[in-house]
Amino acid sequence: MSRDIAVVAFAQSDTLRSTAELSEVEMLMPVLHEVLDRTGLKTADIGFTCSGSCDYLAGRAFSFTLALDGVGAWPPISESHVETDGAWALYEAWTKLVSGDADTALVYSYGKSSPGSLRDVLTRQLDPYYVAPLWPDSVALAALQAQALIDAGDTDERELAAIGARSRTTDNPHAQLKGPVPQGDYLVQPLRTGDCPPIGDGAAAVVLAAGERARELCERPAWIRGIDHRIEAHSLGVRDLTDSPSTRLAAEKAGAFERPVDTAELHAPFTSQEVVLRKALRLGDGVTINPSGGALAANPMMAAGLARIGEAAARIHRGESDRALAHATSGPCLQQNLVAVLEGDPR
């Protein structure tokens, strides 16, 4: 059985360096209300709800159960959760809709990085035997990848700086970093502060709907023509860090190479990672890359990948794109990658 599934609404919070005055559910709730308001749906109308978050960020066990308070999960709703970026929650919801288990889905994700030290927190996702005991932080691992790209002649520091500057020229009202930002000192050489994403708290949400239901809820639905995710070997020393075969394979399975896209929303937290992704996804100069600013303008952990899909869909909703690629990543040096291809009805 095949059903057309579309993103029919997207909402996101501002991404802020600290939201200490709000609990996670207090930060998330306005985003949930906004995304439901866009469709006129209520919680009770939603067939399946799926969320993405990570307890390590704020150091709060089972925080996603408290976040469910913001949905209104009683009487019990059909619900699931992934401990990673919300893009993977969207994938799970998409499978529910494709299989006919539901006609609508609410997908949301959120991350509060401000209570902890994000660079250190992220070391805990690494191989516990050979890597995590060395506490290599997220910027250090990205820097190893950036140096490999420079050594291979794929990029240089000037091009990396230009990627950061272009990302931050966005007019996205929710972005954390906008406008000219000094390229700064080396955080871990060869990456300067301008090559790295701001650390911030934020949330994102989308509503999915199937077939005619999507057309009822949205004037121009963003149809998911394909979606797939793939993973690299976990040991960094086994991988070619200058390439992303998992991204390429996911894109192929999602049908990204069948016809050109006009827009790509890439989840590249570091400038050097955009270089890898453009190569893997064969994105030419004619493609508008990250009009939202991408993760270099706002990188709420666990929400930034879902926001890429939401941003790509919103451009289709507004008629600014006809065929867009959205990418999400998780793990060090682009370890896991998800690619979705979205299209609007012909105008």
């Binding site: 200490a20 005055e21 709000l22 609990s23 996670e24 559910v25 207090e26 709730m29 209300h33 919680t43 390590y56 704020a58 150091g59 709060r60 408290l66 469910l68 308070d69 913001g70 949905v71 209104g72 999960a73 009683w74 401000s114 209570p115 902890g116 030290s117 660079r119 250190d120 927190v121 070391t123 805990r124 516990p128 035997y129 050979y130 890597v131 995590a132 005991p133 060395l134 506490w135 290599p136 932080d137 250090a140 691992l141 820097a143 190893l144 990848q145 950036a146 490999a148 050594d151 080396y186 871990v188 050489q189 060869p190 070997a233 976990h234 040991s235 960094l236 020393g237 086994v238 860090l241």
Partner: protein, 314 residues
């Protein structure tokens, strides 16, 4: 906006992890200043060695010696070492392909500065003085200019193999409870009042409030003082002494519905023998002199509440 409450929160979790046969051989060999790789069926040597081929998923077991010297395949200069990292002075993160290995190992390189590091440079292991069978038995790498070593087969058997590691982890957070819980904590601490919040939709009063009604999914905002007295809705008898808790067992821990609240909170019951606590018992909070929250609840002496008055709160 009222002042935001904050408190340090330290999360520590020392996991004890068992090792597979390949990992055990690798870490045991490190203790003896030897590095082992594992051969794949297509003849590649993986270092650090893994139990299964990352490409084919074949189970791997052919261990070989590899060099204690190698070549940097990529590097990154870390000007500001962080807690737990191999060196506490500026160093380079490196991926090193040891001689006779086909894959690279992540570690630190002790070098005077970024100008002294480049891809392709030769490095050698500096061993830790005390070795326990862990990746940190390699203290770091240091620059080297010697010839590459020969490869030899190793049976991977040791008299006293390392069978597990303890993975220490500590993360430091600054905890903030958010708007609703901040208001609750402040009213309790400063005025000894229990202030809940009412859902604008279903009108239920939540104590302590968490900012959202879990039934309706909307923000709670209207503040409602509840209690101070309440009713035991259900309870248990605790017979095991908790670590660092100075309370004699057995004692009773109960769900208490404060008067006016639509959700029961937790509290210890005192001032009554543990085996006389019952559902419906009317209780009130007992504060210690400088307590920031009730130390426990004790009977008020009122007649027990009728079951019908609290059955919805169980």
């Amino acid at each position: 906006m009222p002042e935001v409450l904050k408190a340090p929160l330290v999360v520590e979790f020392p996991f004890t992890r068992s090792l597979g046969p390949v990992q055990s051989a690798f870490l045991t060999a490190l203790r003896q200043r030897v590095v082992l790789g594992v051969r794949t069926r297509d003849g590649r040597t993986l270092v650090p060695p893994v139990e299964y081929d990352p490409v084919t998923a074949d189970e791997l077991s052919d261990l070989v010696h590899v060099g204690v010297t190698g070549t940097v395949t990529t590097w990154a200069w870390n000007p500001a070492p962080r807690r737990g990292q191999p060196l506490d002075t500026p160093f380079a993160w490196v991926l090193v392909r040891l001689d006779n290995a086909d894959t690279a190992l992540l570690h630190a390189l002790d070098a005077p500065g970024p100008d002294a590091v480049h891809t392709g440079m030769r490095v050698r292991i500096r061993w830790a003085e005390e070795r326990v069978g862990a990746i940190t038995d390699i203290a770091c790498f240091e620059p080297d200019d010697e010839e590459a070593a020969e490869v030899t087969v190793h049976v991977g058997e040791f008299d006293d193999p390392v069978t597990g590691i303890v993975a220490e982890a500590r993360l430091d957070y600054t905890y903030s409870p958010g708007r609703a819980q901040t208001a609750y904590i402040k009213a309790l601490e400063n005025e000894r009042r229990a202030v809940g919040e009412r859902c604008p939709s279903c009108r239920k009063v939540y104590v302590p409030p968490r900012g959202a009604c879990p039934t309706c999914g909307v923000a709670t905002s209207e503040q409602v003082e509840v209690g101070p007295a309440g009713t035991v809705t259900t309870f248990c008898i605790v017979n095991i002494k908790a670590k660092n808790l100075d309370i004699e067992v057995p004692y009773v821990y109960a769900h208490i519905a404060l008067d006016g609240a639509d959700l029961a909170l937790h509290g210890r019951i005192g001032g009554i023998p543990y085996d006389q606590v019952r559902m419906g018992l009317r209780v009130e909070p007992v504060w210690t002199e400088d307590g920031r929250y009730p130390d426990h609840y004790r009977p008020t002496g009122e007649p027990d509440a009728e079951y019908d008055t609290y059955k919805e709160l169980l």
